[in-house]
Amino acid sequence: MTQAPLLSVEDLRTYCYTRAGVVKAVDGVRFALERGDSLGLVGESGSGKSMTCNSILRLLPKPAARTVGGRVLWDGRDLLTLSEREMRRVRGREIGMILQDPLISLNPVFTIANQVGEPFRLRGAAKGRSDLREKVLDVLRQVHIPSPEARLSQYPFEFSGGMRQRTVAAIALAGSPGLLIADEPTTSLDVTIQDQFLRLLRELQEKTGMALILVTHDLGIVAETCNKVAVMYAGKIVEFGDVRQVLTSPAHPYTEALLKALPVPGTRQKRLYQISGEPPNLLDPPAGCAFEPRCHRAMQACKKARPPIKRLSDGRQAACLALEAGEVR
């Protein structure tokens, strides 16, 4: 890798300051993306997936959460050191984001035309009203909104859930970003609409060449949509690599356990596999590996030191002491 990657997140640390204490929601996250990459960011609730995304765009809930360390290198700049003004230019134009719930991420009191047109207006990309209208219609067509002309003057409450999510995608597209962050974009959609929407994302990605970060806890979606995957646990990436590698032969015991918990269609299982125990309390994380209490490969050493993330011989990265001991597989 001689050329600098499109996005490089280095040792990102975002802490939440709560009444009960400091929660290290993102604790030394590190990954890199190339142009056209699509990264699946997976992990259970509270593992720091969304916090990582919000940290990249610097949209953390203030004043509870703060990024306290690390670098987010984008296009040669460290986003964490930009002024708020410069950051606004990055948001929407260079990095777009799709939020989790399409039903509430459109503003209820503005028309679709107004909201989809806003990114164009903000960067002065449209010459006059008719040009703006054409541009809005164009992105609405790109996300396959049927008869977009009739939809312009409508309001979000007149749209179905799937259409709203498409509209949100259209808004993201309107900024023609180089990277799109989609934070569980399909969680609130039903399964058929989910599938349509993921296909749309792939299609748009192919057309525009933008990179994608897809936050999800559905490994099936990752397998279909992404070429890279990062598995997060307790604020850290525990495994990162090529989708096929990671999903077919997981290196980290946590990834392995996640895959085991997937239902297999066509088979009758009495009960789905369940990872025993609970995720660690991040207010008081264990001194060693965060997964150690639930890990079937735990060794004595796991209790003492946090395993660093290391590159394995096949190119992927994982953070597990058992791997270093050469004990896996």
């Binding site: 990055v90 984001m97 939020l99 503003n107 409450f157 808004i171």
Partner: protein
């Protein structure tokens, strides 16, 4: 929407009739105006003649019918004190009240919104704490007391403003500020809480994701969604302003409708009180309708049918 407006106007008209009945009866309970109009040495015969002349000897329903018959033609009767048509008197005083209420309302909404929204965006800050303290004070202190203190401090001691009366713009400031204080505090509190409810919403985050400036996020995307309760309160306050001028106009000797009503009540000048109350009530009804109609503009989900 037109049908809705017409229906509401019809209901408003009924309200107006109700108000006129109440004020008509209430005034006549207040006492006999002829006792005030006649000199001390007048005979009982003089009094009876005057009552006949004023039509006060007729039964109450008949008096009311005569009043309504005149009122629909714009004739609200003659003032017994000022010896001129009552409505003419009221309309002559109306501009002064509108001026005072207008400035007080603008101050209340301007200061209230600005402080409320800003303190919502800076929740927990020193500014927020100050605003909240100011709101509590503004709601707690009575208007008549503030008016008197203002006169003492700013007019008498410091001499910055005239103590009372109407004339230059400087005359307007103390009464307008006095009147604005309470509604500004209420507006501040309401807009703060309405904005706090809105600012956590996903579409606000979405507005930031799009690259909007913080000011546009708050004042465009945020405030439009907090606008319904704010508009409701503003409408109520504007309507109240016209009636609330009574206290302030009396303290500052401001020659508006409020002062006129007080003077007319003390003079038992039935015609003037009736005319003035009808004007105030009509303004109230029309402003309320206007507020209800703006909801449709503020929230696209509201339809009138």
């Amino acid at each position: 929407m037109l049908r809705y407006a017409l229906k509401r106007l019809g209901v408003g008209l009924l309200c107006l009739v109700g108000v006129s009945v109440i004020i008509f009866v209430a005034m006549r309970l207040a006492g006999d105006p002829t006792l005030l109009l006649l000199p001390d040495d007048a005979t009982e015969q003089d009094r009876i003649e005057l009552r006949q002349e004023l039509g006060l000897d007729k039964p109450l329903p008949v008096q009311y019918a005569i009043f309504v018959a005149g009122a629909v033609q714009g004739d609200f009767g003659m003032s017994t004190r000022w010896k001129m048509p009552a409505m003419e008197l009221v309309l002559a005083r109306l501009p002064a009240t509108l001026q005072l209420a207008g400035l007080a309302f603008s101050l209340a909404v301007g200061i209230g919104l600005l402080s409320g929204v800003t303190s919502a965006t800076a929740r927990g800050s020193v500014f927020d704490q100050c605003v909240r303290l100011g709101v509590t004070l503004g709601l707690a202190v009575p208007v008549f007391w503030v008016g008197l203190i203002f006169i003492m401090v700013f007019a008498v001691d410091l001499g910055w403003f005239p103590t009372s009366g109407r004339g230059s713009f400087a005359h307007l400031i103390l009464p307008a500020v006095t009147m604005a204080l309470n509604p500004a505090a209420a507006m501040s509190r309401l807009s703060r809480s309405a904005m706090l409810g809105v600012l956590g919403a996903d579409y606000i985050k979405m507005a930031r994701v799009k690259g909007n400036s913080e000011a546009r996020v708050v004042w465009k995307h945020g405030l439009r969604n907090a606008a319904i309760p704010v508009a409701t309160l503003a409408g109520i306050q504007l309507a109240n302003m016209i009636g609330n001028t009574v206290v302030v106009e009396t303290i500052f000797a401001w020659p508006g409708i409020g002062k006129l009503i007080i003077d007319a009540i003390f003079a038992r000048d039935f015609a003037v009180v009736q005319a003035a109350i009808c004007v105030v009530a009509a303004a109230y009804i029309i402003l309320n309708l206007a507020v209800d109609l703006t909801y449709g503009l503020l929230d696209p989900q509201i339809r009138y049918d």
